[in-house]
């Protein structure tokens, strides 16, 4: 209040006002309304009445929900770890001075920018048990043909392959940013002291890029938990419910069964899971910085 009268500190509120209104309408309002729907029995095009915590109580006994949660945990863990390792290796490669680095980096980034549905469609063809190119490639190296996304035992692993292919570039970019910001002096002195390349990585590079790897872990975790396009376009949660993660289950409850009250309760719990995990990881990241 007082500050805005200071001529050198003009009020910047008018600049923010339109965004505040817009965010209130399309972001905050849906949050609040979701909370309200979650304490109602509410079907799309049907009746609506207040039921307090019933939806949440129902959730506690919903086996399909707990199984989808378990699948989400498995899917997310694999979809964080694999891109983290591959992305870090790729960043170390891209950090070296090589010809055409810019162009090659552009190609490397393409999977994460491409339209997920389009990608899912081509992967579906590649996974085809008889006509797919992947089983042909397996046969070239003498491995047995797989049913990939068409078998409930391999569907999650196959989807993780696609997710990893798609999102390894993001980890690479973040870690590459860390490498670019790192000073070169420690390497020079390590060279003089006769440190091996592995020792240089382990004791110089790794501690310096660890905070960046942690950022990648946080972002990757959020995105993998929320993963929808790839899974829905390729399997719709199938075969059966073998690849039904929380997000897919939530979609089915809300828009296949039109049970939006219950769907909202799932959304609220899902949101809490994401926030809790993100905060835990951010806390870990703080610690990883202190240990430097």
């Amino acid at each position: 209040m007082f500050r805005s009268r200071d001529p050198l500190q003009p009020s910047y509120r008018p600049f923010i006002a339109p965004a505040v209104v817009l965010i209130a309408a399309v972001i905050v309002f849906p949050w609040v309304f979701t909370l309200w729907m979650s304490v109602n029995e509410w079907t799309l095009g049907g009746s609506q009445h207040f039921v307090a915590w019933d939806n949440y109580a129902r959730l506690a006994h919903d086996t399909r929900f707990w199984l989808s949660l378990l699948r989400t945990v498995i899917y997310t863990t694999a979809s964080v770890v694999a891109p983290l390792i591959l992305g870090t290796v790729a960043a170390l490669v891209f950090h070296a001075e090589v010809p055409f680095r810019g162009a090659l980096r552009g190609i490397f980034v393409m999977p994460m920018m491409a339209t997920p549905v389009a990608i899912a469609l081509v992967w579906t063809m590649m996974f085809h048990p008889q006509l797919g190119v992947l089983n042909y490639l397996l046969s070239l190296v003498g491995l047995p043909a797989q049913a990939w996304i068409f078998d409930q035992d391999t569907v999650i692993a196959s989807l993780v392959v696609v997710e990893t292919w798609q999102w390894t570039p993001l980890v690479m970019l973040i870690v590459l940013g860390g490498l670019a910001a790192a000073p070169t002096e420690p390497y020079e002195s390590a060279e003089i002291d006769g440190a091996s390349r592995w020792q240089q990585f382990r004791y110089i590079t790794y501690p310096m890029i660890l905070p960046f790897m942690m950022i990648a872990v946080v972002i990757r975790t959020i995105d993998a938990l929320k993963s929808f396009d790839i899974i829905y376009a390729m399997t719709q949660g199938g075969p059966g419910t073998a690849s039904e993660t929380i997000n897919i289950y939530l979609y089915n409850v809300a828009f296949s069964y039109y049970d939006i009250g219950y769907g909202s309760a799932i959304a609220v719990v899902f949101f809490i899971v994401i926030i809790t995990l993100s905060l835990a990881l951010l806390w870990l990241r703080q610690r990883s910085q202190w240990s430097l």
Partner: protein, 274 residues
Amino acid sequence: MTLRRILRGLGTALVLIVVVSPAILFFLWMLSLSLKYEIDNGAYPPILIPERFAWSNYTQIFQANDFLRYFVNSVIVTGSATLAALAVGVPAGFGMARMKARKSAVIVMIARMTPGLSFLIPMFLVFQSLGLIGTLWPQIIIHLVVTVPIVIWIMIGYFETTPIELEEAAMIDGANRWEIFMKVALPIARPGIVVAFILSVIFSWNNFLFGIVLAGRTTRTLPVAVYNMLSFEQVSWGPLAAAALVVTLPVLLLTVFAQRQIVAGLTAGAVKGG
């Protein structure tokens, strides 16, 4: 010594090729699928380069599957949602950066963490009660959930790095805050706006979730149209792959030509919409 250096360079180049091959091979295979007739796509062992190219796959999706309409829909939805986000988000990013209102950016972060479906359910009810279902408006409006946070996030980061001294000098010369924004801050921020524009376009263009719920037969965007081809209308692979390539080609071209801006934007804010 020099020979060793050359060998080492070649070695690294080789490793790089291995690293980028999953991306290159995938998109090559996609192109190959889209240019083959049914008989070649069903061949075993698979054929990479066919003897006859099936250009008809491409003409077919525009003639039989009405892809031109869906393309226009996509352009309208992405264009409107991006322009609206820039109009609102650039000044907001400026204001938040100058007020040092870092905390207000937290809401943008949380919006990014929220599953898209939890926006979709309540907004679907709103659109229904307003009678907007069947028009493009619901999709334009809900795409703001993706575009506005990206723009604000990138612009805060950008305005925080631009020098405030110029603005202070203009203030002393008697310019009001609106003039300062328009004539001093905005021109300097142009590269940041380009980054925000590109990322906003890409993530809005790629969005699939909002479309499958909100789009009707005439209001489909390209990702939804492709998905519908896959599930209902088409079984032959050539036109399907051609459709997939048409959908993602604008984004891939943007990625290749604006690679530097995209990398800068993604690593600075480390954002992704959706």
